[in-house]
Assembly symmetry: D2
């Protein structure tokens, strides 16, 4: 295996006390494929500088705003080749646009944007750019989700009939008190969806990733249980996929006892699978008429597509950060191929701007359906 020089990475957002910025930085480091060399880490100048210093960034490459960063880095001989955008949702579009137009690859947190209008403009901006756009639906990086996808594609489950997907948390059960919650429950910064946007998009994306099914329509019942909350904190959604499969999606941020309960179950006429993110190294496989099998990451029964994104042996648990890092590693493979002018392997999988647009359409459809008392609506 040859060696490719690490990719020079910048970051927008992710200042000192932001959760997801730290996650992106660790994910970028795990496989040694990126070097963080520049940042516009906060829209508050003092905080931007302090955050850059804490990370050991060159002060000359610690910027107060993302546009200045895009302009200058694009001119530097050793400027950044890629940027991670980890701001609140409403900033995604404006930030991504500046980098895309200058040929800098974008790795962007989900959901894609805060409005459908922004989403469409961002799709256009990405189409007009030679740069890559990677959306961090990180749960698709888990080895057992890669395996599940392949099992479905190989027909191991037969024709898919039923999809049960849920994503339950409890951190918004009562009145929010801290920064994380603040922007996520503010329509201006978060967008039209609350739990649907923040976690429902993950659930929707993961179900699509694994099953390969396109959603035909959905019927949604959204709630904001906490008094005064403007965005949904719980959502019940019925799904109809093209080809006849049906599903249910539940997302909630008011379900006490659920820390990060993303769970996927898929059933076909030949078998089923069950997976839960909180113990991601296991995948139940239930072939119809045979005993249940517990497949493990790196263990017996693990397929090539899972092994490809597995770092350490079975029984040595990989977690959230490794799954996230796999998205970064896939992005690195694609960016490196782009740099080298070579084709990227078909094995490389990462969520694209199209996935991001579908996620936005999912949120939009949930909101529209719920307003129409659960009428079945199509995406887009």
């Amino acid at each position: 295996m040859g060696y490719d020089r690490p990719i020079r990475l910048g970051m927008v957002g992710g200042g000192n006390d932001a959760f997801i910025g730290g996650v992106h930085r660790i994910a970028a480091r795990i496989d040694g494929r990126f070097n963080l060399v520049a940042g516009a880490l906060s829209s508050t100048p003092e905080k931007a500088q302090a955050s850059g210093a804490a990370l050991g960034l060159d002060p000359a490459r610690t910027y107060d705003d993302f546009k200045a960063m895009a302009i200058r880095e694009a001119r530097l001989k050793d400027g950044i080749e890629a940027v991670a955008i980890v701001t609140p949702n409403h900033v995604h579009y404006a930030a991504a646009r500046e980098f895309l137009k200058r040929g800098i690859h974008v790795i962007c947190d989900k959901p894609l944007t805060s409005t459908m209008a922004d989403a469409k403009k961002l799709v256009k901006a990405a189409e007009d750019s030679d740069a890559l756009f990677v959306l961090t639906h990180n749960y698709t990086g888990y080895p057992m989700m890669r395996q599940a996808r392949q099992m479905v594609a190989d027909g191991v489950l037969g024709n898919i009939r039923v999809v049960q997907v849920e994503y339950a948390q409890d951190w918004l059960t009562q009145h929010e008190e801290f920064k994380q919650a603040e922007w996520r429950t503010d329509p201006a910064r978060s967008g039209a969806g609350g739990s649907t946007g923040d976690i429902g998009t993950h659930a929707f994306n993961l179900a699509a990733f694994v099953t390969g099914l396109e959603l035909e329509s959905l019927s949604a019942d959204l709630q904001a249980f906490v008094s005064g909350r403007q965005l949904d904190d719980n959502a019940h959604v019925m799904l109809r996929y093209e080809g006849g499969a049906r599903g249910m999606l539940w997302c909630s941020q008011v379900a006490p006892g659920n820390e990060n309960g993303l769970r996927l179950r898929v059933y076909g006429d030949k078998g089923g699978i069950e997976w839960a993110q909180e113990n991601p190294n296991q995948l139940w496989f239930t072939p119809y008429g045979e005993p249940k099998q517990l497949l493990t990451r790196g263990g017996k029964g693990a397929m090539d597509v899972a092994e490809r994104v597995t770092r350490i042996p079975a029984g040595h648990p990989e977690g959230y950060l490794e799954g996230f890092a796999t998205i970064y590693r896939e992005a690195a493979d694609a960016i490196t191929a782009h740099r080298n002018g070579t084709a990227v392997s078909e094995d490389v999988l990462y969520p694209t701007i199209e996935d991001g647009l579908k996620g936005m359409q999912f949120v939009d459809a949930c909101v529209r359906s719920s307003k129409r008392d659960g009428a079945w609506v199509k995406l887009g």
Copy 2:
């Protein structure tokens, strides 16, 4: 504690190879409160006789049809005091009526009947009778479900917001081949609901039992995935309860790997509970802001209402038959009180004909909503 003579019991249905008849007989025996002394065990005379003989019944009290049994037993000095009706659904009404009109208590399997019309007539018949009517929604007999109900009633979970209930099986994944499946997928014998009637009613009933909530309306999407099947084998239902709680109900008989997956989760603004029938001795309790607790039947934290229906210590698992037997024991308490002319304790809980009617209304509403493309419909 004094001793009350066991109740003389008859049985309608439950011939040699029927599953649920054997379950009722064991349930009736476990606490020694019933003696099975008569039966009309099959509508086929030879099978009725053979089945009676295999159970050691007096041939003189082994009947070929339930009406003859009702007539004669009502006249015997030591005739049956109660009858268990364990036939296919479409026979429930006609059989129950004969016993109710003669003052013989009825213990009837669910769902109540095969048609709404029969259900209403049976409610009338029960109202006109002095005899008791007990419906075997057996899952309400589990100690941890008694505890969950009490915890909700005591406000431990706060205001209930979200109910997630599901009942998944896999035995109808492919074309049915055996008798159990045969009548259950035949509208004439089973009724308008397939999985909704057979297991959805259990799920609906259990959620109501635990939460004490009344359903306001539902939106359903029913499927018959197996080609040629006339009744639903999978159903997705969204629920709106009076008072603002919302829920989802999934029932399926085509989900490979699910043996008898009845699972209930209830979330309020102060905490949640989670329970799964396949390991019924455990109840997760998740008070908001505190560590999760695993409550166990008979263990620390078990409440009086659970202990009352617990036979053996913690760690010595009780199962399905014990839960079922608890319904029989509750029935025995009520019947004995009726015999003695005394009041039955308020602690005694068993599903009634009203619960049965609600179950029928639930199935009816699911079918109506699904035909109207998921429109929200009210029960009844």
Copy 3:
């Protein structure tokens, strides 16, 4: 299947507040193969009478002492055919002898007796009697333990190398306060072993039942952690089986959080099994080099020997009482064959007096080894 008249059963011990007496009564009732018709339920006459009345026994057959009961019942035309002995251990021998000598079958709780001397005399008494002797090592009644035994016998696991068995409880963690604890920690009534006798014998027996291996020698380290306690409440034992397999056995009654934690793991050169009593319907099967399989009672992969002792379908959990009832049902088969002068099927399995003697030898060896600082000692 023909019908055999239920066996007339008596009981010694098991008065009002005894745990294990109630268990035996339910176990005897579940399959309808026994009728309890006589009892010497307590050594205290008033309690014996009250307990008999509470069970609805004929006062004429409610005895104040077991010897009177044995003498009179043996003379009655419809006297008891079998007796369940559920007293504290030190009474087992004297009681069993009286019934065995009169040809009345004995179903006796474990351990066999309180002393080795009594055990040997009881073996002699059983040999001299035409009556059967059944020891209620009830855990051998669980379907998945039947299956595990058969899998080992069939060579599915290959040559057995390692046995890990443990039985952990917590009810004696602090100073005992109630009757159950009282006699169990008194050497005069319980015997030389505390936890080793009460639960270690179960663990030892179950390992032998499943593996078919004979113990060659053991090395034990016994402790009495609670101040003033005369008998072991925790024991660590290393095992050497004939043929080269090795094992470890841990039993404890001072391990907080363990309710009734009997757990067995067996590993051979081709595969392993894992089972835990608290969820007895599951058996892990781990063929070397293949994915783990979760076998379920009544489910796919269940073998005939398991199905034979299974009452209800997969996913409908059977528990402790059903496993116990299986020992009673096996006893009923054997007693009925004895009554009819026919041979009992080879499928019928129940623990015998030889198993009881081995259990006594196990306790004796543990005590001897521990006194000799863990020297390896042989049984017997």
Copy 4:
């Protein structure tokens, strides 16, 4: 929080296809506290060069042997400040010595060495050096193990009575076929212990880390089940701790179905804890007389000592690499303090050379005891 320049790191061993070298490299990267700048990655020159190139190391700092590396790097102005030693065990001493004598900090894989003689010499070498010595008993880096240790220290479990620790794997069940197995079953390279050295030392260390107890003596029964194997592949050990606690330790590499089954249970007179490495984010806490609690990394009930080594929120699983990285981060804190001439915080915890020596003594004692038929022997 200020920023400290990353530590310049070298590596000895860890060439292309070595498992543990890759683990160390990721662990060193996760928190960005080290930069790998030099390596003697293999004792085969071609492989050393190829491995260095694959990692992007400067060819001038890719060495063919560790001594040359130690000599040159010590002279470089920007030479390595620390070295990770990840060779087979028999090389640990010679390699570590060269770096320690030149003031380069050592981060060494376990067990400490392959012989007791080497271990003692290495202790001397470390004492004579100003450099730090860190042993990667990585399991002590898991947040829930930090919490467990603190709970014991705080007396939450009361007086510790019983320790049950086990480490089961299955990869040596049959004849070894690949490199990993090769040196680990060769006494010349691995040392006197097989499974005891490779994984038993981890189990022993973790039990000591959590309980704070010193081992007084042990009694061991070691086996080599695979024909021709020279080192133990399964070991049963009874433990006596100072102060009266007792324990059992099982380690095995021939237990099919066990991937990396390190499991610890500790019981005191007030409560217990249970933890399993394969799902390390959970810790059962069982206060005596109260419901069981499931504590989670980052969740409610997590203590400061756990939060300190937690990177991401509850429900976002951290795994093996993060636990390993915590040892590296602790080492970085200590090395940075050393560089800055400041005191290291008391919160910083990492396994030391003394822990390594105890591990060697543990293996030695196991071998001695087993040869003497399980006699109780003291460590050291």
